[in-house]
């Protein structure tokens, strides 16, 4: 009874920090929440007096809390401060995810850096700068994030020095893991980044105990370069070429949002083949990433149209094909992509327009995902504010960054191995893991 009611405190993040000692809702309910040691007052006047005392105490404590810097969490208690060396985020600005997305990590508006300035000295500058660019959104998109991460790792490994009397492979693995962990704190990692780090750690794990520091570093750098060249660059080019084969003169091609690396290369390849076609960019708030794609298309001298997602049913009627990029493809053939892609795929499939997902096989994930909520990334809810929002209403905003397109709306996945129907994604993944699949030029 003496402990504050944590659940109540956390459910009302916007309210002020309640001081330790009194339950947050105690007063409102008219039930004294103080410790059971004191005798409960019986008469009405006595209960009144107790209430007044609690109210005064609360006001005094609140005044103290505000004066002392509102950084203390209620559950720490008024006597204790936060443990030394560990900064605690200001509770007001850290919403806790609740409801149907309660299982997802909440969107953290403050970056890791401002929260924990001490860590910056331990992290390599390349990783530090990359983390900041992830958090700000400057580096975005599955391929971009993975390529940037690999480049940063390469730079960090160059400066890596193994401490004496420690097995290089073990220490190097720890280093890789900690660098990756830092990046994850800045922004939840993508499937592409996960695949790359898994590959690197596997390479490091295979290093024998006799490996020297230089050999180990060379092995990692070589692994980074090979992975970037084969699974990103070369595969991306093969995906683009195969996709470009599906575009004919006179086609109207739909795509969503920024499109992604593979889709852009696909349009460039089709343009190089002198194909005459039109692109319709379907875009959605809040990212409106399609605008960047528009300037890219203009650079290719391609005729482009721009519509928002709510006009997709109109735009799809003249479409020949839909090409979309993906963050990942799961083994049940479903595709994870920027939020809005699933809606486009659904409408296109209903109109018998083939939907082609461009995805290199390194982004294939062995897991199965059936819906868009079991895993997702929460974005900044403030991005959903509109200029004409009524000032007196403040609804909770849910910003989901991705959605999952079910396999039944996908006609084929374009990979470096060719076009694959969604039902065959599990088989392809199996072949890849067995090491028997080779890109088919």
């Amino acid at each position: 009874r003496g402990r504050p009611d944590r659940r109540k405190a956390m459910a009302q993040p916007a309210s002020e920090a309640t001081p330790g000692g009194a339950a947050g809702g105690g007063e409102a309910q008219g039930v004294p929440g103080k410790g059971g040691a004191s005798k409960k007052p019986t008469t009405k006047a006595e209960r009144r007096a107790l209430q007044e005392k609690q109210r005064a105490a609360k006001a005094a404590a609140r005044g103290e809390a505000v004066g002392g810097g509102g950084e203390k969490k209620a559950k720490e208690g008024s006597a204790k401060g936060p443990p030394p060396g560990k900064a605690v985020p200001e509770k007001k600005s850290v919403p806790v995810s609740s409801g149907i997305v309660g299982h997802l990590p909440p969107f953290a508006r403050q970056s890791m850096l401002t929260r924990c300035p001490r860590i910056s000295s331990e992290v390599h500058p390349a990783i530090l700068s990359l983390g900041l660019r992830y958090a700000s959104g400057e580096v975005d998109g599955a391929n971009m994030r993975c390529a940037a991460m690999l480049a940063a790792f390469k730079a960090a490994i160059a400066d890596y020095r193994c401490p004496p009397d420690v097995a290089v492979s073990r220490d190097l693995d720890k280093k890789l893991k900690s660098m990756f962990q830092f990046l994850v704190e800045c922004r939840p990692h993508s499937v592409s980044m996960g695949a790359a780090i898994k590959h690197l750690r596997a390479v490091v794990a295979r290093l024998g105990p006799e490996t020297t520091e230089d050999e180990a570093k060379a092995a990692v750098v070589d692994a980074v370069e090979t992975f970037t060249h084969q699974r990103l660059a070369l595969s991306g080019r093969l995906v683009a070429d195969r996709g470009a084969e599906k575009i004919r003169d006179g086609d109207v091609v739909l795509t969503f949002g920024a499109g992604g690396d593979a889709v852009r290369q696909l349009f460039a390849a089709a343009r190089r083949d002198d194909k005459r076609f039109r692109v319709v960019v379907v875009d959605a708030r809040p990212a409106l990433a399609g605008r960047a794609l528009l300037s890219f298309l203009r650079g290719l001298d391609l005729e482009a149209t721009y519509v928002l997602l709510n006009a997709v049913a109109y735009a799809v009627r003249e479409a020949t094909t839909v090409f979309v990029g993906a963050e990942a493809v799961y083994s049940n053939g479903a595709a994870l992509a920027d939020a809005g892609t699933a809606a486009l795929a659904l409408v296109a499939a209903t109109h018998n327009v083939p939907v082609l997902v461009c995805c290199e096989t390194y982004k294939f994930h062995a897991k199965v995902q059936l819906d868009s909520l079991s895993w997702n990334e929460l974005g900044d809810p403030d991005h959903l504010r509109a200029d004409d929002d009524p000032p007196d209403l403040d609804p909770s905003r849910l910003h989901l960054r991705f959605d999952v397109t079910p396999d039944k709306y996908i006609t084929a996945v374009i990979t470096e191995h060719g076009l694959v129907p969604p039902s065959a994604c599990a088989a392809l993944l199996r072949e890849l893991e067995l090491g028997t699949a080779q890109p088919d030029p």
Binding site: T321, P421, S423, A437
Partner: protein, 300 residues
């Protein structure tokens, strides 16, 4: 570049062998192609794997070009199954090349495997008939479209132990009726346009294929899609009997993706996998989804 006299004589010898196999022995076109390419290997004077590979490619190109010109040879079909049969043979060859470093060993292995592949291909029609005939029940009515010899083999095998009747569409109807009369099966020939009318009276549809594509769909004689869509809407199973060498490495998204020269009178159409219940192949009875799994394995 025009062929040298030696090359030209080799080409004509191969083509002779090929057409003989097709017309006299009634072999499926891809099977005949596989045997013809095997002949190329046997007669080959090449000393390197690269040379042999070149000769095989040349043989394939000659076969495709010459068959396209000779009308009667392909029995009104496209060169699709010929191309996929050759491709499969080339894949076999490439895989063998990668396995052996010594050329003579490689050539010997190639011949042995090639012969085995040819034998297996000859036997595939019978194997399919064995797998497929239980799906035709006693007292049922089967709709057929086109004149597939594999489908005929299935019907023949089923007729050995069951009584059933057949409905055939008119475009190949007369020929099909003649084939089936020898088996003692009652055949009704109907107009293509009447397929929807008669669909409620049939129990299943049996088709052949010129090609099976990467997503499990089939390419077959024009009119197949009509039959398949109609069957699906009336909940009748659609069965396709096709040998594994007909699996083609194409992924058509629409009808226009098919290799068709006369766009107003196309000889073939593409039936998407959603309209196909099962495929009877010499690799087993497969769902359309399983076809892509098999292809991934075959071509890796």
């Amino acid at each position: 570049s025009p062929p040298s006299p030696m090359e030209a004589s080799g080409d004509s010898a191969m083509f002779e062998e090929f057409s003989g196999l097709v017309t006299k022995e009634d072999l499926a076109i891809p099977v005949a192609a596989i045997e013809a390419l095997l002949g190329v290997i046997k007669r080959s004077k090449a000393a390197t794997m690269h040379g042999l590979d070149e000769e095989l490619r040349r043989g394939r190109d000659v076969l495709v070009a010459a068959s396209a010109k000779e009308e009667g040879l392909l029995r009104g079909r496209t060169t699709m199954s010929l191309v996929s049969g050759c491709e499969l043979m080339m894949r076999h060859a490439t895989r063998t090349f990668l396995e052996f470093s010594d050329f003579d060993e490689c050539k010997r292995a190639l011949l042995v495997r090639g012969e085995a592949f040819a034998r297996q291909s000859r036997a595939s029609r019978d194997r399919i008939a064995e797998l497929a005939h239980p799906f035709i029940r006693d007292g049922s009515r089967v709709l057929v479209h086109g004149r597939s010899r594999v489908a005929l083999a299935v019907l023949a095998r089923a007729a050995q132990s069951k009584r059933f009747s057949v409905v055939a569409t008119e475009s190949d109807g007369a020929a099909v009726a003649a084939d089936l009369r020898d088996l003692g099966l009652p055949v009704d020939i109907i107009a293509d346009a009447a397929v929807a009318y008669f669909m409620e009276t049939v129990d299943c549809v049996l088709l052949g294929a010129e090609g099976v594509v990467e997503n499990g769909g089939v390419v077959n004689k024009i009119g197949t899609l009509v039959v398949a869509v109609c069957a699906k809407s009336l909940d009748k199973p659609v069965y396709v009997a096709a040998e594994a060498f007909k699996f083609a490495r194409i992924f058509p998204l629409k009808q226009r993706d098919l290799p068709v020269t006369d766009t107003l009178r196309p000889p073939i159409d593409y039936t998407p996998p959603a309209y196909i219940s099962l495929l009877f192949t010499n690799l087993g009875v497969l769902t359309p989804a399983a076809v892509s799994d098999e292809l991934i394995r075959l071509y890796q």
